[in-house]
């Protein structure tokens, strides 16, 4: 098999994932695009391992490690997205502007104070 076929497929998949990461707004869709990019890298690793006929099979071992790390990454990522959704009420990545600098900097402390008030009340109620 021509080595260019898997290599080109991996490059195109990586670029599709890159577009998804940059263009999507929902955080879970961004995570899906990250998965596509990781899979493109895995395809490259497997193809070059088979081509080189490595005796240690470093490419395939590294692919297995990448798959496991991707599973850990998706677990942590989804936990963070769920926490953000619970605290902020949205999982859109371009609405999470708490740490943003720019023209709306003076308003930022008020917004964070308003959002912190309910939890303070809740703490007092619990106390």
């Amino acid at each position: 098999m021509h080595l260019a076929y898997p290599a080109v497929l991996a490059a195109l998949l990586f670029c599709v994932g890159l577009y998804g990461v940059l263009a999507r707004r929902n955080a879970i869709l961004v995570l899906m695009s990250v998965e596509l990019m990781l899979n493109a890298v895995n395809l490259n690793l497997v193809a070059f391992d088979v081509w080189l006929r490595d005796t240690l099979h470093a490419g395939q071992a590294l692919t297995l490690f990448t798959i496991a790390i991707a599973a850990a990454e998706i677990g942590i990522g989804l936990a963070i997205v769920l926490m953000v959704h619970r605290n902020q009420g949205t999982s859109d990545v371009d609405r999470l502007r708490d740490t943003a600098e720019g023209p709306d900097t003076p308003e930022a402390p008020d917004a964070s104070d308003e959002r912190r008030e309910p939890t303070d009340e809740k703490t007092e109620a619990a106390a």
């Binding site: 998949l13 899906m32 193809a47 989804l78």
Partner: protein
Amino acid sequence: MTLAATAQQTQGFLSTSGVEITFVLVGLVTLGAALVTVTTRQLVHAALWLVVALGGLAVEYLLLTAEFIAWVQVLIYVGSVVVLLLFGLMLTKAPIGRSPDADSGNRPVALAVALTAAVALVWVVVDAFRTTWIDLDGAVQGSTEVTGAVLFRHWVLPFEALSVLLLAALVGAIVLSRKKEQER
């Protein structure tokens, strides 16, 4: 160019074996599913098309004779990662049906960046590996026996480190998603 000419004589520039045709066809399906995944406006459909893309990649691994990786791909990606993503969509109250704000405002910039990267990468890769062929006729490169022997003979230490990492990720996910004391 002379290298390409000699390679053509021995191998044929497009040696249309059955494996190559299957690889290209499955690759087209995979790429199309990936494109639909990143462009569709229905969030649940994006997760389901991701299953098609990941399953297509598993078939590609099988065609490259890496069968153990193919089954790991099916088990972990199609089996658990997509289920996790669907649960995430469900728990964040993702709208069923078309959501008009699935794409953010920097879509043209993203398209430009992705197209530039695609052109550059494909150009470099095709130019570099124009005269290289994978020999798939010899011994199977990624059978379960070979992968298991290599993994537990030469890669034991990274394997164990990875299990510690998975444990840490598990504990971290539980800590992150647990509710605080006063919210119960």
